[in-house]
Amino acid sequence: MNAGTLALGEVEASAAPELPSRARWGLGILRRLAVRALSVAVFVGLWQAASATRTHFIINFAHVPAPTEVAQAAVEFLESPKTPRHLLDSVRRVLVGFGLAALTAIPLGLIIGRSRLMEDVLLTPLEILRPIPGVAWIPLAILMFPAAEQSMIFICCLGALFPILLGTIHGVEALDRRLVHAAQTLGANTWAIFREVVLPGALPSIMTGLVIGMGTCWFLVVTAEMISGRFGIGYFTWESYTMQKYPDIIVGMLVIGLLGMLSSAVVRWLGSRLTPWLRHTSSR
């Protein structure tokens, strides 16, 4: 496999000088896409083979549905009238939880990063809460909130909160002090320094926190829905297990993966729109 790809590369490399650079660039992209598609195909092929032969070597494939069964279940899933509700409920929980987390964590991080007193007051309790996994919060969340919906959003929000908070604090603390000094000598007051220097200076690091936070939000919405949901993609996955609809488990897993990937990509895209100056840095 490997040797074959290598040989192919050599043939193309020798032909390359005759192509204009733009075409060569396009060819490079195509080749990478082909390699990626091939890798997915090989992976699915191995999975199919393992399920068909009911391989039982460390992992037991006897009860793992084959890709063909999953594909069939996926078609049924897409056609089901309940699907939009499952998707919408999960997306809504993630968006609300994520939004609340961002609205809390960014101002909090800016304050903790700028003030030693605030760091001493707030950071220690937050550091104690941080290692507690989202799942461990579920019983307490159920007790704290009257509606299941609220406790699920709370769990989601907790997951995104810490990555965003830490990203913001790190961004503020890594800010070049000379930029703050320069702003002070140019007549900026405390609020202007926050708005014009600290926030944009920390923004790249905040965006990293948001991307990671979006990922953890998806982990936790699924966890929360498995315990106390009626709709939602996490609930769908768990329900498929209890009702022994095994191909649906994998459909649910893949949908979670896709939604997580998609939402992270959206956050990343937003981030690059908000930090246009970084595009020029990387191209230099």
Partner: protein, 273 residues
């Protein structure tokens, strides 16, 4: 030269007085005296260079004047007022990369006027950018500019805030010799036009003599003023000046003192930790 036009700041402003200034830091839990008992008077409109080997505390003196570090003893007084915090009286140009990366060149320069609430901040900024030769680069982010251009943005930004005092911390130290020479000449032209007080930190003897009317040589361990030299070379100064005999004499005198101080810090290095 027509560069000597109407001064934009009255010459009453921009007097710097250092009175028995000492600055101490805590480094690795031990107190470290960076600057001890420095007294210096800088007249409004004067161009003074602080020259010395690395570790002589010249940047610390500058930071104390700017209000970035508090004195541990003595005081800094600007125009009769004691310095306790950074203020608009001093524009600062740092060694490198202190332009706001998220603002284009124009917005960087407009920052000061904007913070002062001037409605024509962008016009002012465009004028200062043009003065440092960056017309046409208004929209460029700092990352897109060369090191020399970035320093010119920094200078334009400091000038645009109309501070009577300009503090410069080795602003050309990271540039190649060619760019450095050109920017030194440009700085002198701007200074002759704007009539600001300039306190210029450098470790380059040539740079100090070429730019300053007075060179204050600092010594090490702890940082102190070793000797002052007045530079009676005619203004406006241009690059050819560096080949004159008067220049050579001052250069030799200052270099001798600097060499002594550099050797001292070099020899003491192993004990100094």
């Amino acid at each position: 030269m027509s560069a000597v036009a109407q001064p934009s700041v009255t010459l009453r402003q921009g007097r710097i007085s250092l009175r028995h200034l000492s600055v101490a830091f805590t480094a690795r839990r031990r107190p470290l005296v960076a600057v001890e008992n420095v007294s210096l008077e800088v007249e409004p409109g004067e161009f003074v260079a602080l020259l010395g080997p690395s570790g002589c505390g010249k940047t610390t003196v500058l930071n104390a004047v700017a209000g970035f570090v508090p004195p541990s003893a003595g005081e800094v007084v600007i125009d009769g007022e004691r310095v306790v915090a950074p203020s608009r009286r001093c524009g600062v140009v740092f060694q490198q990369n202190s332009a706001f990366p998220w603002m284009n060149a124009l917005d960087n320069v407009a920052f000061g006027p904007r913070m002062q609430g001037l409605v024509n901040a962008r016009e002012i900024a465009a004028r200062y950018l043009a003065q440092v030769g960056l017309k046409g680069f208004e929209e460029a982010y700092p990352a897109m500019l060369s090191g020399g251009m970035r320093q010119r943005v920094g200078i334009a930004r400091a000038l645009a805030s109309r501070a009577p005092i300009l503090l410069m911390d080795e602003p050309f130290g990271a540039l190649d010799a060619m760019t450095r020479g050109l920017l030194q000449e440009q700085l002198l032209e701007l200074w002759e036009r704007e009539q600001k007080t300039v306190l210029f930190v450098t470790h380059d003897v040539d740079e100090a003599i070429f730019l300053a009317g007075r060179v204050v040589v600092m010594g090490v361990r702890p940082g102190h003023i070793r000797e002052e030299f007045s530079v009676p070379l005619p203004r406006p100064r241009r690059h050819v000046l560096r080949h004159s005999p008067a220049y050579a004499r001052i250069h030799a005198a200052i270099s001798a003192v600097i060499r002594e101080e550099s050797l001292k810090s070099f020899e003491e290095e192993p004990h100094g930790h």
